[in-house]
Symmetry: C2
Subunit: 372 residues, 2 copies
């Protein structure tokens, strides 16, 4: 069982619910989701009625980029994430949603707005309500943050994913997963940029490659082996996504482009083959994004070195940081790698940090409680 | 059975020989070849003696780049390629090699030097002799060109691969496949650039991803399905590799970089899954190299359009061109696609062209005759 010793993460242990609201086929061999970004294909004939009075959903943390998978590849990690409790609420104006309560990780709660149009869960929920054509029912939403904001673990995507899945489920699960990802993208676009590499794996679970946005083409990449552990080490340091984006090069030399493309190919091949050594090599090999971002996170270069020296197959920045992510095939080894990385953050960067060792979340956002 | 109706291609039909000189394990699940570029690991203790008096080898044509796989991905196609006949020759100075005869495709023969240090087969043969430490035996080499030069089908790599495999085999097959690829790279470096995306699949067969050169890390990607057909349409037009390289951008915008990386990931995923639709989508999607090179090949844009309209899953330039390559799942459909592409070359580019429909060569360079 994975262990969480990071005080501001909420460790959870969930079994897949039969009420899961997602495509059943995301682990099939050659599945991709392609849809137009218009609603034409999913426009419903009649406004659906709620089939439940309340649901509680969960969506996992995600690791985007994975080195050379910058902006098009991400994966979900188990046991960390956000919860949404959604209720049919006669006190809320029909067709609208109200955020009744936000609790959980204190640093996150303090920064989040309860105005639905400024809240990642609220925006995704509204988008799903629009897609479903909800005009006659009001909803209230309670958000429980398990993830800190700005950690590089897809905090906003987890909230959006949990909200999107909850709204869809309370009305009978009419929308396909691609529409839920698009609803989540509405939220991501407003708060951190139009990138699906957090929201897609948060909703779908596992590894997801985003091949295109127009049309949306999401490619789940099933990892066939069991023994994949992520060591997530988060320092007490703020790395705002906007600042981490501003430092990226606008132009890339051809040799670095070819190098990163080949590493991206290796990353994908390694995921599909369950090849942890190859995955680690590829993960560590980014010559474009990580070299620009790592110097902005005190100690990151030493942390990566410490992870590799402690036996990790590879290490890079999770999302836009500051969390560092390493991969290994053994939980105990993962803990030791985590200790070494925490030490390196302190010794080289002067930053306190905590580590968790987590497995791949293969399920994605799901309903965990429902009341008729 | 694939059909060849291109007069200057030599169609061949080979069954895998038991004398094959390559790694047996290239179709295994998580195989990569990693080696240092030094000879330390393969330096032989004693000069090997020839175990045969002569061998005849074959190496297949290759399609490099495959759109977003630029400079790191290639595959071998069956039934087209070059032959080398190698003999122990007491009339040749010990430790040296002589090119006795070059024949086959006339346009190629006229342009090739019989001086071994200026000939792709000769350079690769010398490199293998050096790696083996041959000082006491002289060899004569006969090269039969099945491929035209400068067609974008890895003509020089096929000659180099056939020569490397022949020399290694006549001395008992002491060198691993990675050393044969390095020998072929010596040849490619001198004649067209230090890129292994033709020579690696020419030697190893199938699809090969080149992850790194230092150390050399070659990743075979097994295509699991049978029904993959390449439609190769070669116009009567010269597209020198140097000219086609000169037109490439030195710097690439971040959005195009991310796009091509994601397509490269999709390309690799599609190969490993045997997903022809995904393969075609990715193959057609290059926004960096193809848009610069296609305008230099009269009619290429119309040819691509014609291929897609005729039902191909995707189409791009093979290697540096001018051959266009499309993919399909049916040989008869492939012929029809080929006719439409030939028409488009004439109608839009004013170029005569011929087409062949070929399968994946999963074997790579191999010995097809040997005499004790």
């Amino acid at each position: 069982m994975a262990i969480c010793n990071y005080s501001h993460f909420k460790p959870i242990s969930l079994t897949p619910s039969t009420n899961r609201c997602r495509f059943e086929s995301s682990t099939s061999r050659v599945l991709t989701f392609r849809c137009n970004n218009s609603l034409a294909s999913t426009q419903l004939k009649a406004e659906p009625e709620p089939v439940l009075t309340s649901v509680k959903s969960f969506a996992p943390a995600t690791v985007a980029n994975l080195g050379p998978g910058f902006d098009f590849l991400g994966c979900a990690v188990d046991g960390l994430g956000d919860f949404v409790t959604l209720r049919v609420d006669p006190d809320v104006h029909p067709g609208e949603i109200s955020i009744s309560h936000i609790h959980g990780v204190e640093s996150s709660v303090a920064k989040l707005s309860k105005d639905p149009i400024s809240n990642c869960a609220g925006i995704a929920a509204i988008s799903v309500m629009k897609k479903l054509g909800i005009r006659s029912v009001g909803l209230s939403l309670e958000l429980e943050k398990g993830l800190p904001l700005g950690s590089g673990l897809g905090s906003s995507a987890a909230s959006a994913a949990a909200a999107a899945v909850a709204v869809n489920h309370i009305f009978g699960g009419k929308l396909p997963v691609s529409e839920l990802v698009l609803a989540g993208l509405d939220s991501e676009q407003k708060l951190s940029g139009y990138h699906a590499d957090n929201i897609a794996p948060a909703i779908m679970g596992g590894f997801v490659l985003i091949r295109s946005y127009e049309p949306l083409d999401l490619v789940p990449l099933a990892f066939p082996a069991e023994e994949l552990f992520f060591v997530l080490v988060s320092p007490e340091f703020e790395a705002p996504t906007k600042k981490m984006r501003a430092v990226l090069p606008k132009e890339i030399g051809m040799s670095h482009h070819v190098w990163n493309c080949s590493q991206a190919g290796m990353l994908v091949a390694s995921v599909l083959r369950g090849d942890l050594k190859g995955l680690g090599l590829a993960l560590s090999s980014d010559k474009i994004v990580e070299p620009k971002r790592a110097p902005l996170i005190p100690g990151m270069e030493a942390v990566k070195k410490a992870a590799i020296e402690a036996g990790a197959f590879g290490c890079t920045i999770s999302g836009a940081g500051p969390t560092a992510v390493a991969v290994t095939d053994d939980e105990e080894k993962g803990k030791e790698i985590g200790y070494q990385m925490v030490d390196a953050f302190m010794n080289d960067g002067g930053l306190k940090a905590r580590s968790v060792v987590r497995k791949l979340d293969r399920v994605g956002a799901r309903v965990i409680e429902s009341n008729p």
